[in-house]
């Protein structure tokens, strides 16, 4: 199989998923609504005082983004495995990792990217200063992309499992903890007026590591799930 064919196949997968999502856009909107609802819980649970909320705002935005993208990941591969599309991909002779990566990329465009765009709005509502917007957006861009791949591994492993969504969170959340640490720390440093470059670079390093090894793990997991 030539490289051009692989790229074409990956692009087709990417476009197909975007089209499918466009036709059922209300499902795409659900994680975003969930995101806003979760962040509303924190002021209600603690205090309406913005100066106090500001201290935790970066962390709250990050935790809510983690939970919202995990919620959306559960169904990532399910329909394709159930209707046999995934078996065709496995048999197609194209590198499965690329196809899955294309699928994860389209998933990220549909769920990760809206979260990133929404984050400054939500953050401002929690008292996040304008100075920290850049760090928030940059850290969430890297973080949600990494999380999509990590979650893709988890979704591929749990695709044939009953009550997979709780299990998926149980598997992926511990692995996502470094992202949370660096991400919310970058926001915190920007709020304190420090340069957030250090944690952002670490986030980028984790992203590239996950990007290079993640597709291998994903395709291994999908093969296991599809074989029987």
């Amino acid at each position: 199989m030539s490289r051009a064919a692989t790229t074409a196949a990956a692009r087709l997968v990417f476009r197909r998923d975007l089209t499918l999502a466009w036709r059922r856009w209300d499902e795409v909107a659900q994680p975003l609504i969930f995101y806003v609802v979760v962040t509303t819980l924190f002021p209600l649970a603690t205090t309406p005082d913005l100066s106090q909320l500001r201290v935790i705002s970066g962390g709250v935005v990050w935790v809510a983004a983690l939970l919202a993208s995990l919620l959306a990941l559960e169904s990532l591969f399910r329909s394709d495995v159930e209707d046999g599309t995934m078996e065709q991909w496995v048999l197609s002779g194209q590198p499965l990792g690329w196809l899955l990566l294309a699928k994860v990329a389209s998933h990220w465009v549909l769920t990760g990217l809206p979260l990133v765009i929404m984050a400054p709005v939500v953050g401002t509502a929690l008292g996040l200063p304008f100075d920290a917007w850049g760090a928030l957006i940059a850290s969430l861009l890297l973080g949600t992309a990494t999380l999509s791949i990590l979650g893709g591994i988890g979704a591929a492993l749990t695709v044939g499992v009953r009550r997979g969504s709780v299990l998926l969170s149980l598997l992926v959340l511990p692995l996502a903890m470094p992202l949370l640490i660096f991400g919310s720390r970058a926001v915190g440093m920007a709020m304190d007026g420090d340069s957030p470059v250090g944690p952002l670079q670490l986030l980028a390093a984790i992203f590239f590591l996950t990007l290079s090894l993640g597709p291998l793990a994903m395709s291994a997991a999908i093969r296991i799930s599809v074989e029987n």
């Binding site: 499992v161 009953r162 009550r163 299990l167 692995l175 470094p178 640490i181 793990a217 296991i224 799930s225």
Partner: protein, 242 residues
């Protein structure tokens, strides 16, 4: 050499061999753990800062060490099982996970008990305790994934992928947590960070670590035998009374 290796991977042979090996691990483990306990609790001098409270170190540090060691053992066994398709290696990974989780829990519990006299609270978000806690989550996730499949072969292979992903992530988690705590709290709680520990305090620690390792050998031999029995319950060699 290869014949020996292949024989090792055959369930009846492994079952018999493990049965023979278990007491060779078990009795030395018991002896060394008793010796280290006596040495650590009675003979070793009290710490000049912490008094007798530091003696929980003799359980805490070896369990923390074992919790990470067993995770690596588990991931290596899982990788061997996945690459060479050796079912016995998968069985070994399955047998190791609960032991590792128990050691992790023991490390957390003893760390928390130690924290009470030292820090004045049961729990401090200290780098080590936090990464132990995340390690416990990793073990629990592994066992949850394994138990959620009906087909044992699929459970083996899926959880093997998870164990390998996990073992790559363990150092990242460890260093990120360390970075996180050093940013938040300057090194004031690192009183327990030892290095300058007296030699006579160290000997019982080494003995205890070796004892714990031997205990792990004993426990995994027993558990692996059980795992083999469960997986091979319909095999003919069992009916022959092998």
């Amino acid at each position: 050499m290869w014949l020996w290796f292949h024989k090792l991977a055959s369930p009846p042979h492994a079952y018999r061999l493990l049965g023979k090996m278990a007491p060779w691990f078990g009795w030395p483990a018991l002896a060394m753990m008793l010796l280290a306990t006596w040495w650590g609790l009675v003979k070793a001098p009290a710490d000049y800062q912490q008094g007798d409270a530091f003696r929980i170190l003799y359980v805490h540090a070896p369990s923390a060490w074992m919790s990470m060691f067993i995770y690596v053992v588990m991931a290596v066994a899982a990788a061997v099982g996945l690459i060479w398709r050796i079912k016995l290696a998968h069985a070994a990974a399955a047998a190791a996970a609960p032991i590792g989780a128990s050691f992790t829990f023991l490390a957390l519990a003893t760390g928390s008990i130690w924290g009470k006299p030292m820090w004045g609270t049961w729990w401090v978000w200290d780098a080590r305790l936090t990464s132990e806690l995340i390690l416990l989550f990793l073990y629990l996730g592994y066992m949850a994934l394994r138990s959620s499949f009906d087909d044992p072969q699929r459970a083996d292979r899926a959880s093997a992928v998870l164990a390998i992903v996990g073992v790559i992530n363990v150092p990242i988690i460890h260093y990120s947590v360390e970075w996180w705590t050093t940013l938040h709290q300057p090194a004031s709680v690192t009183k327990l960070d030892k290095p300058s520990i007296a030699m006579e305090m160290l000997y019982p620690l080494f003995i205890m670590i070796v004892g714990f390792q031997l205990y792990f050998g004993w426990a995994i031999s027993r558990r692996l035998r059980g795992e083999i029995l469960r997986r091979e319950r319909n095999a003919s060699w069992l009916k022959e009374g092998g």
